[in-house]
């Protein structure tokens, strides 16, 4: 980039009013820069900070380049210098001065129990400032809201049955579009890529779960390096074997993410299937609820008071479980329209029992209720 000194020289030679022109031009440049680096508030709610750590693991750009060239990284509990009122002051200040301009990134589920007191991010006027309030207020005025990690995007582990803190996804709290960048944790490439897209080109193309199709457009199964083992029917019988992991519970067929290409950590060194373990579907709207047990094909179904393995109840209803993995083989061979089937099987993105009531798994519930009734 041209230095301001050189700039002045050139303009001076051209005979223009140096001071006036430079002020205008430099002012314009700075304004342009500012536009290129939107203020970013990264709010941690009920989280383990895994997504913040993953963000720091970004290789190109690294952290230093990100905070100097890409974003104005104002608030993140893990890295910011300020603390106490000084740090919550950053939230207030940004809200007041940059409404409509800043990006709000939320990491973690938003608990709603006890009016949100199960997660307090600071205090205000002597009262607890809950994550619920913070997400609502900051979310309403943000230019874009990004839910990073599966907890924020879909509820994730902390909202799993029985959801003790009554955690909700960010979209479950806000009445506006939330860009979901799931993953447990998020891959650095997914979040940094989404940020770059937002800063440079605006909102990326999103799928029906508001995930950028750039990263979540294709199943792991279709991109998998071990796909040929699946097609040839060569399956690992136990963990640690270098074949297709389908039979030890791989959720790759119902998981939309580019892990096999992108891989994990700075140099993209590895990913679960390459490490001879199954994909556990951590970007799924129903992770971990309906991707558990991790080492079995079929998910567990949680009904009031009991947890049942879908394998066992498969016989009752003849229906396959919420994710439709079991029917995968047959479907693939018969119709070759796997992706479509799976998308259908995954809808809609609601948590817990709601899912059971609105997906084919409702049939399972009916079947079990019937059986329990009969027993009694």
């Amino acid at each position: 980039m041209m230095k301001i000194k050189d700039f002045i020289k050139i303009i001076g030679k051209s005979g223009m009013d140096v001071k006036k022109t430079t002020n205008q031009l430099v002012g314009g440049l700075l304004a342009g820069d500012k536009k290129k680096r939107p203020p970013v508030l990264w709010l941690g709610t009920n989280t383990c900070a895994g997504d913040s750590i993953s963000f720091l693991n970004s290789l190109d750009p690294g952290y230093r380049a990100m905070i100097t060239n890409l974003i104005d990284f104002r608030y993140n509990h893990f890295v910011m210098t300020a603390e106490g009122d000084m740090s919550t002051g950053v939230l207030e200040d940004t809200l007041a001065k940059h409404a409509g301009e800043y990006l709000l990134i939320v990491e973690g589920t938003v608990p709603t129990r006890s009016g949100g007191l199960y997660c307090v991010v600071g205090h205000r006027n002597g009262k607890p400032y809950t994550a619920l309030e913070a997400v609502r207020e900051l979310g309403a005025a943000a230019g874009h809201v990004v839910a990073v990690g599966t907890c924020a995007a879909f509820g994730g582990p902390y909202a799993a049955h029985p959801n003790p803190s009554r955690g909700k996804s960010v979209q479950g709290i806000l009445d506006r579009r939330v860009i979901n960048v799931p993953g447990c944790p998020v891959n650095p490439g997914w979040i940094v890529g989404t940020l770059a897209h937002l800063v440079w080109y605006g909102e990326p193309e999103l799928d029906e779960y508001n995930r950028p199709t750039l990263f979540y457009g294709e199943t792991i199964h279709n991109l998998c390096q071990r796909r040929h083992y699946f097609d040839s029917g060569i399956f690992a019988a136990q963990l640690g074997e270098p074949w297709c992991m389908y039979k030890v519970g791989c959720k790759g067929p119902v998981t939309f993410a580019d892990c096999p290409y992108r891989q994990w950590n700075g140099e993209h060194v590895n990913w679960p299937v390459k490490a001879n373990t199954p994909c556990i579907g951590c970007v799924n709207p129903e992770f971990p609820e309906h991707t558990m047990p991790f080492f079995e094909h079929l998910p567990d179904i949680h009904l009031p008071q009991i947890t049942v393995n879908a394998d066992r109840i498969g016989a009752i209803t003849g229906t396959l479980a919420a994710l439709g993995i079991g029917s995968h083989l047959a479907v693939r061979i018969k119709k070759g329209r796997l992706a479509k089937t799976i998308k259908k099987g995954l809808a809609p993105p609601k948590l817990g029992l709601q899912v059971l009531q609105t997906t084919p798994a409702q049939k399972l519930v009916d079947g079990i209720k019937f059986k329990l009734k009969k027993k009694n």
């Binding site: 509990h77 893990f78 603390e83 003790p164 963990l239 590895n270 947890t307």
Partner: protein, 482 residues
């Protein structure tokens, strides 16, 4: 007398709150509080026991390997299975690499901004402005190391990924061993990264720590407390786990004793939980006795409205005492470092431990046997109990598991930060971090940086600290409509 509340304390794995009363320029009373609750043990019930390794890793984003390890140990204990030789070493290497990552990030990313002035750029501004004592040239050099440390920590996470699939949340730490074969190319890659990291530790991190300790030597007498500590061993030497590189030990008044698990109690009198038998303020949990019949009636339920309580962290006690865990405790038990108990000692011990683990890992790589198995398949018992104890980065970590009908019937986690950041117990005894804060001088009540330095040296992590006591009745009774 003046009350100072820091809400939230940032640059910790999850934010927390510190409330102190200052009189005559010194802290006379302190309370540490965690303001969020997730209820992991409740979520684990009814699940496949094998899933606990992956799911409990999600307790904490920075020490996930430690939870994976404890969960694997617990299930191995329950199922009566031992990993193969390679499996044990690989798990040690993954946890070791994650420990390097954690300690390097703690020293530079979390600690250093308390002592080193950052650039004039968010998120380094706003911030405290006082008591930065380093000459500008040294300050500048350390700031450069700050950025380099981020690269080095990322490299350590790449090592975790090499054998562990990804980081955070490595998926190769499992009951029965590990899953990545130690082929020559992977071992070479790992070794090369380890070499870079060890160089950084020796040439940057250790000298930087000594510089800090020299300039801020008053912190050797700030944040002190009685030498009461607890250590669960870390890194088994062989697959039979007869001995660990960092051994078990309890330190009371500076004296070393063997660990007696039966002497662990949990107290909820000042935490947001209410007891089951109508006697709040009593002694509710007996970790070592988790499976005893007496536990049936002793359960705690989350209750955010409880009077007199101020945190989500319970108060574990060892022989009735508030004990601390972490690098200082581990090196103390090992006999490597017994200089004192203070803020600067905690920082120095962490840095020295980083170097020690990095060196040990070079040796473990030599012990790998290519071509031999890494994982041993096993059957999940229908009914069993198991205990998994390990050192996590911040201190002793224990997972207690009860299996019934092949599923998790009860799961209990006691985390390092529950020990370190515990609240007062029924007898009014403050937790270790609260004790350490007493007598801390506060020069400027508007910029209480001394307090932050004291608490941050513990490397607290509220993410891992909040749990419920689970054993006993059915799930429905834990879910109180509020």
């Amino acid at each position: 007398m003046k009350k100072i509340t820091i809400n939230p304390v940032t640059r910790a794995n999850s934010p927390f709150v510190v409330e102190v009363t200052v009189d005559g320029g010194k802290v006379v009373e302190a309370k540490c509080s965690v303001q969020f609750f997730r209820g992991f043990e409740l979520i684990l019930r009814g699940r496949d026991p094998r899933d606990a390794s992956y799911l409990t890793e999600r307790v904490c984003g920075i020490c996930s390997s430690a939870h994976g390890t404890a969960a694997a140990f617990a299930l191995e204990d329950a199922a009566g299975v031992r990993p193969p030789h390679n499996g044990n070493i690989l798990r040690n290497l993954i946890l070791g690499a994650d420990l390097l990552q954690n300690h390097i990030r703690h020293f530079y990313l979390l600690s250093l901004p308390d002592y080193v002035r950052g650039p004039n750029l968010p998120p380094f501004v706003p911030g405290y402005k006082k008591d930065f004592r380093l000459p500008s040239r040294v300050n500048e050099a350390m700031l450069n190391n700050y950025y380099e440390a981020l690269e080095i920590a990322r490299l350590a996470h790449e090592m975790v990924a090499l054998f562990g699939a990804k980081a955070p949340f490595p998926h190769s730490i499992l009951a029965g061993g590990s899953t990545v074969a130690p082929a020559a190319d992977v071992v070479m890659n790992f070794r090369s990264k380890l070499q870079k990291i060890n160089d950084f530790i020796a040439n940057r991190m250790i000298p930087d720590a000594h510089t800090l300790a020299g300039v801020y030597d008053d912190y050797y007498s700030i944040g002190g407390r009685n030498a009461d500590m607890l250590v669960f061993g870390i890194f088994p030497r062989d697959q039979y786990d007869r001995e660990r590189y960092f051994p078990f030990g309890a330190v009371l008044d500076g004296q070393l004793y063997q660990v007696d698990l039966q002497a662990i109690r949990e107290d909820v009198s000042h935490a947001w939980y209410i007891g089951g038998v109508g006697q709040p303020g009593g002694d509710y949990g007996v970790a070592g006795n988790l499976y005893g019949k007496g536990m049936q009636n002793k359960q705690a339920l989350p209750d955010r409205e409880k009077q007199g309580a101020y945190t989500w962290v319970k108060a574990p006690r060892y022989k009735g005492r508030a004990v601390e865990g972490g690098s200082l405790a581990r090196l103390w038990v090992r006999g490597d470092y017994r200089h004192g108990v203070s803020t600067m000692d905690r920082i120095m011990a962490r840095v020295l431990e980083t170097q020690k683990v990095g060196q040990l890992m070079e040796g473990w790589l030599e012990e790998l046997r290519p071509g031999e198995p890494v994982y041993k398949p096993f059957k999940i018992p229908q009914k069993a109990t198991g205990v998994g104890l390990t050192g996590a980065m911040r201190g002793p970590l224990g997972h207690w598991l009860r299996i019934e009908k092949g599923r998790i019937a009860g799961y209990q986690i006691i985390t390092p930060t529950a020990w370190n950041m515990s609240p007062r117990d029924a007898g009014g005894q403050p937790g270790p971090m609260e004790q350490a804060l007493l007598n801390t001088p506060v020069a400027d009540e508007n910029e209480p940086i001394e307090i932050s330095r004291v608490v941050r040296a513990f490397d607290p992590c509220s993410a891992c600290a909040t749990h419920v006591i689970a054993p006993g009745k059915s799930l429905r009774e834990f879910i109180i409509p509020v």
